[in-house]
Symmetry: C2
Subunit: 128 residues, 2 copies
Protein backbone atom coordinates (compact mmCIF):
# COMPACT_ATOMS: atom_id res chain seq x y z
CA UNK A 1 0.00 0.00 0.00
CA UNK A 2 2.78 2.38 0.83
CA UNK A 3 4.27 3.92 -2.24
CA UNK A 4 6.61 6.16 -0.30
CA UNK A 5 10.30 6.08 -0.54
CA UNK A 6 11.98 5.55 2.77
CA UNK A 7 13.17 8.67 4.51
CA UNK A 8 14.86 8.82 7.87
CA UNK A 9 13.08 12.10 8.61
CA UNK A 10 9.64 10.55 8.16
CA UNK A 11 10.71 7.58 10.23
CA UNK A 12 11.87 9.85 13.03
CA UNK A 13 8.56 11.71 12.99
CA UNK A 14 6.60 8.48 13.17
CA UNK A 15 8.80 7.19 15.99
CA UNK A 16 8.48 10.38 17.96
CA UNK A 17 4.70 10.39 17.65
CA UNK A 18 4.37 6.77 18.63
CA UNK A 19 6.31 7.23 21.84
CA UNK A 20 4.73 10.44 23.14
CA UNK A 21 1.35 10.62 24.80
CA UNK A 22 1.05 14.32 24.25
CA UNK A 23 -0.66 15.56 21.15
CA UNK A 24 2.04 17.77 19.73
CA UNK A 25 1.62 20.52 17.19
CA UNK A 26 3.68 20.46 14.00
CA UNK A 27 6.03 22.95 15.56
CA UNK A 28 6.56 20.80 18.65
CA UNK A 29 7.32 17.83 16.42
CA UNK A 30 9.76 20.01 14.51
CA UNK A 31 11.54 21.10 17.68
CA UNK A 32 11.89 17.54 18.88
CA UNK A 33 13.09 16.03 15.63
CA UNK A 34 15.70 18.76 15.40
CA UNK A 35 17.42 17.11 18.34
CA UNK A 36 18.30 14.24 16.03
CA UNK A 37 18.26 15.94 12.64
CA UNK A 38 19.25 19.58 13.15
CA UNK A 39 18.79 20.37 9.48
CA UNK A 40 15.23 19.15 9.10
CA UNK A 41 12.93 21.88 7.87
CA UNK A 42 9.48 22.75 9.10
CA UNK A 43 8.19 22.21 5.56
CA UNK A 44 9.37 18.62 5.64
CA UNK A 45 7.67 18.10 8.99
CA UNK A 46 4.38 19.42 7.62
CA UNK A 47 4.67 17.40 4.42
CA UNK A 48 5.27 14.19 6.35
CA UNK A 49 2.62 14.80 8.97
CA UNK A 50 0.05 15.37 6.24
CA UNK A 51 1.25 12.35 4.31
CA UNK A 52 1.05 10.07 7.33
CA UNK A 53 -2.37 11.41 8.25
CA UNK A 54 -3.68 10.84 4.72
CA UNK A 55 -2.40 7.29 4.81
CA UNK A 56 -4.06 6.73 8.13
CA UNK A 57 -0.87 6.11 10.06
CA UNK A 58 -1.42 9.00 12.41
CA UNK A 59 -4.34 11.24 13.35
CA UNK A 60 -4.62 14.94 12.70
CA UNK A 61 -6.76 16.57 15.34
CA UNK A 62 -8.17 20.05 15.52
CA UNK A 63 -9.51 21.45 18.75
CA UNK A 64 -9.97 24.97 17.38
CA UNK A 65 -7.19 26.21 19.63
CA UNK A 66 -4.87 27.66 17.07
CA UNK A 67 -2.81 24.96 15.46
CA UNK A 68 -3.51 21.39 14.51
CA UNK A 69 -2.23 18.59 16.67
CA UNK A 70 -1.08 15.10 15.79
CA UNK A 71 -1.60 11.75 17.43
CA UNK A 72 0.51 8.67 16.82
CA UNK A 73 -2.39 6.48 17.82
CA UNK A 74 -4.30 6.10 14.57
CA UNK A 75 -7.16 4.13 16.03
CA UNK A 76 -10.26 6.35 16.16
CA UNK A 77 -10.73 7.58 19.71
CA UNK A 78 -11.94 10.65 21.50
CA UNK A 79 -10.08 13.62 22.87
CA UNK A 80 -10.48 15.96 25.76
CA UNK A 81 -9.39 19.58 25.78
CA UNK A 82 -8.67 21.25 29.12
CA UNK A 83 -10.00 24.77 28.98
CA UNK A 84 -7.66 25.82 31.80
CA UNK A 85 -4.27 24.50 30.79
CA UNK A 86 -4.97 23.80 27.13
CA UNK A 87 -3.67 20.26 27.18
CA UNK A 88 -5.22 17.63 24.96
CA UNK A 89 -5.77 14.20 26.47
CA UNK A 90 -7.04 10.89 25.21
CA UNK A 91 -10.32 9.93 26.73
CA UNK A 92 -11.19 6.28 27.01
CA UNK A 93 -14.78 5.48 26.18
CA UNK A 94 -16.86 3.23 24.07
CA UNK A 95 -17.56 4.52 20.53
CA UNK A 96 -20.72 6.58 20.29
CA UNK A 97 -21.63 5.97 16.68
CA UNK A 98 -25.27 5.81 17.60
CA UNK A 99 -25.29 9.61 17.48
CA UNK A 100 -24.87 9.33 13.71
CA UNK A 101 -28.23 7.58 13.63
CA UNK A 102 -29.79 10.25 15.81
CA UNK A 103 -28.41 12.93 13.53
CA UNK A 104 -29.56 11.07 10.42
CA UNK A 105 -33.13 10.76 11.63
CA UNK A 106 -34.21 14.28 10.78
CA UNK A 107 -31.83 14.80 7.91
CA UNK A 108 -32.30 14.08 4.22
CA UNK A 109 -28.60 13.74 3.39
CA UNK A 110 -26.23 10.94 4.27
CA UNK A 111 -24.56 11.09 7.69
CA UNK A 112 -21.31 9.16 7.44
CA UNK A 113 -19.58 10.06 10.67
CA UNK A 114 -18.92 12.61 13.32
CA UNK A 115 -16.11 14.52 14.91
CA UNK A 116 -16.40 15.05 18.64
CA UNK A 117 -14.19 16.31 21.36
CA UNK A 118 -14.97 17.02 24.96
CA UNK A 119 -13.84 19.92 27.08
CA UNK A 120 -13.71 20.88 30.75
CA UNK A 121 -11.04 20.56 33.39
CA UNK A 122 -8.36 17.93 33.16
CA UNK A 123 -7.57 15.78 36.23
CA UNK A 124 -4.73 18.06 37.29
CA UNK A 125 -6.62 21.34 36.88
CA UNK A 126 -9.77 20.09 38.57
CA UNK A 127 -7.73 19.04 41.60
CA UNK A 128 -6.55 22.60 42.22
Amino acid sequence: MTINKYSRQREAIKDYLSQTKEHPTADTVYMNIRGTYPNISLGTVYRNLNLLAEQGEILKINCQDGSDRFDGNAKPHYHFLCKDCGSVLDIEMEPIDHINVIAGAGFTGKVEGHVTFFYGQCPQCSAK
Copy 2:
Protein backbone atom coordinates in the same frame (compact mmCIF):
# COMPACT_ATOMS: atom_id res chain seq x y z
CA MET B 1 -25.86 43.58 29.77
CA THR B 2 -24.62 45.11 26.58
CA ILE B 3 -21.98 47.72 27.20
CA ASN B 4 -21.36 48.39 23.53
CA LYS B 5 -21.86 51.65 21.81
CA TYR B 6 -24.15 51.44 18.87
CA SER B 7 -22.49 51.05 15.50
CA ARG B 8 -24.23 50.73 12.18
CA GLN B 9 -21.56 48.33 11.00
CA ARG B 10 -22.17 45.91 13.85
CA GLU B 11 -25.90 46.20 13.31
CA ALA B 12 -25.50 45.38 9.63
CA ILE B 13 -23.41 42.31 10.47
CA LYS B 14 -25.99 41.07 12.93
CA ASP B 15 -28.80 41.66 10.45
CA TYR B 16 -26.99 39.89 7.69
CA LEU B 17 -26.28 36.86 9.85
CA SER B 18 -29.84 36.64 11.11
CA GLN B 19 -31.29 36.55 7.64
CA THR B 20 -28.97 34.05 5.99
CA LYS B 21 -29.15 30.32 6.48
CA GLU B 22 -25.67 29.78 5.20
CA HIS B 23 -22.83 29.75 7.65
CA PRO B 24 -20.60 32.40 6.16
CA THR B 25 -16.92 32.92 6.82
CA ALA B 26 -15.68 36.31 8.02
CA ASP B 27 -14.65 37.10 4.48
CA THR B 28 -18.09 36.30 3.09
CA VAL B 29 -19.65 38.54 5.72
CA TYR B 30 -17.19 41.26 4.72
CA MET B 31 -18.07 40.94 1.03
CA ASN B 32 -21.77 41.19 1.76
CA ILE B 33 -21.62 44.11 4.16
CA ARG B 34 -19.52 45.99 1.64
CA GLY B 35 -22.62 46.19 -0.54
CA THR B 36 -24.09 48.58 2.04
CA TYR B 37 -20.94 50.01 3.61
CA PRO B 38 -18.22 50.02 0.97
CA ASN B 39 -15.66 51.39 3.40
CA ILE B 40 -16.02 48.79 6.12
CA SER B 41 -12.75 47.04 6.84
CA LEU B 42 -12.11 43.37 7.35
CA GLY B 43 -10.66 44.16 10.75
CA THR B 44 -13.95 45.68 11.85
CA VAL B 45 -15.81 42.62 10.62
CA TYR B 46 -13.54 40.35 12.64
CA ARG B 47 -13.74 42.54 15.72
CA ASN B 48 -17.52 42.56 15.62
CA LEU B 49 -17.92 38.90 14.86
CA ASN B 50 -15.72 38.04 17.82
CA LEU B 51 -17.52 40.51 20.03
CA LEU B 52 -20.94 39.14 19.12
CA ALA B 53 -19.76 35.57 19.59
CA GLU B 54 -18.32 36.38 23.03
CA GLN B 55 -21.59 37.98 24.05
CA GLY B 56 -23.48 34.94 22.87
CA GLU B 57 -25.41 36.72 20.16
CA ILE B 58 -24.00 34.60 17.38
CA LEU B 59 -22.14 31.30 17.14
CA LYS B 60 -18.59 30.82 15.92
CA ILE B 61 -18.21 27.40 14.38
CA ASN B 62 -15.13 25.58 13.26
CA CYS B 63 -15.35 22.57 11.00
CA GLN B 64 -11.59 22.34 10.48
CA ASP B 65 -12.04 23.33 6.85
CA GLY B 66 -9.83 26.37 6.78
CA SER B 67 -11.63 29.38 8.13
CA ASP B 68 -14.11 29.83 10.92
CA ARG B 69 -17.78 30.24 10.12
CA PHE B 70 -20.48 32.20 11.87
CA ASP B 71 -24.10 31.42 12.61
CA GLY B 72 -26.76 34.00 13.45
CA ASN B 73 -28.68 31.36 15.35
CA ALA B 74 -27.13 31.48 18.80
CA LYS B 75 -29.10 28.59 20.24
CA PRO B 76 -26.78 25.59 20.62
CA HIS B 77 -27.42 23.17 17.80
CA TYR B 78 -25.52 20.75 15.63
CA HIS B 79 -23.95 21.18 12.24
CA PHE B 80 -23.34 19.02 9.24
CA LEU B 81 -20.41 19.38 6.86
CA CYS B 82 -20.78 18.06 3.33
CA LYS B 83 -17.50 16.45 2.33
CA ASP B 84 -18.35 16.84 -1.35
CA CYS B 85 -19.46 20.44 -1.71
CA GLY B 86 -18.14 21.82 1.57
CA SER B 87 -21.38 23.43 2.63
CA VAL B 88 -22.30 23.63 6.29
CA LEU B 89 -25.89 22.92 7.22
CA ASP B 90 -27.91 22.98 10.41
CA ILE B 91 -28.99 19.56 11.51
CA GLU B 92 -32.11 19.22 13.60
CA MET B 93 -31.82 16.72 16.38
CA GLU B 94 -32.38 16.34 20.06
CA PRO B 95 -29.39 17.35 22.22
CA ILE B 96 -27.02 14.50 22.96
CA ASP B 97 -25.59 15.65 26.25
CA HIS B 98 -25.65 12.10 27.56
CA ILE B 99 -22.37 11.59 25.72
CA ASN B 100 -20.75 13.88 28.30
CA VAL B 101 -21.71 11.31 30.91
CA ILE B 102 -20.32 8.49 28.82
CA ALA B 103 -17.08 10.41 28.38
CA GLY B 104 -16.91 11.26 32.07
CA ALA B 105 -17.29 7.65 33.17
CA GLY B 106 -13.70 6.62 32.54
CA PHE B 107 -12.16 10.02 33.10
CA THR B 108 -10.82 11.57 36.27
CA GLY B 109 -11.24 15.18 35.18
CA LYS B 110 -14.41 17.19 34.79
CA VAL B 111 -16.24 16.89 31.48
CA GLU B 112 -18.24 20.09 30.99
CA GLY B 113 -19.36 19.80 27.41
CA HIS B 114 -18.64 18.63 23.92
CA VAL B 115 -18.24 19.94 20.42
CA THR B 116 -19.63 17.74 17.69
CA PHE B 117 -20.27 18.03 14.03
CA PHE B 118 -21.37 15.45 11.54
CA TYR B 119 -20.12 14.89 8.03
CA GLY B 120 -21.15 13.00 4.93
CA GLN B 121 -23.14 13.98 1.86
CA CYS B 122 -25.67 16.78 1.99
CA PRO B 123 -29.14 16.22 0.50
CA GLN B 124 -28.15 17.74 -2.82
CA CYS B 125 -24.88 15.86 -3.21
CA SER B 126 -26.34 12.51 -2.15
CA ALA B 127 -29.05 12.87 -4.80
CA LYS B 128 -26.50 12.98 -7.63
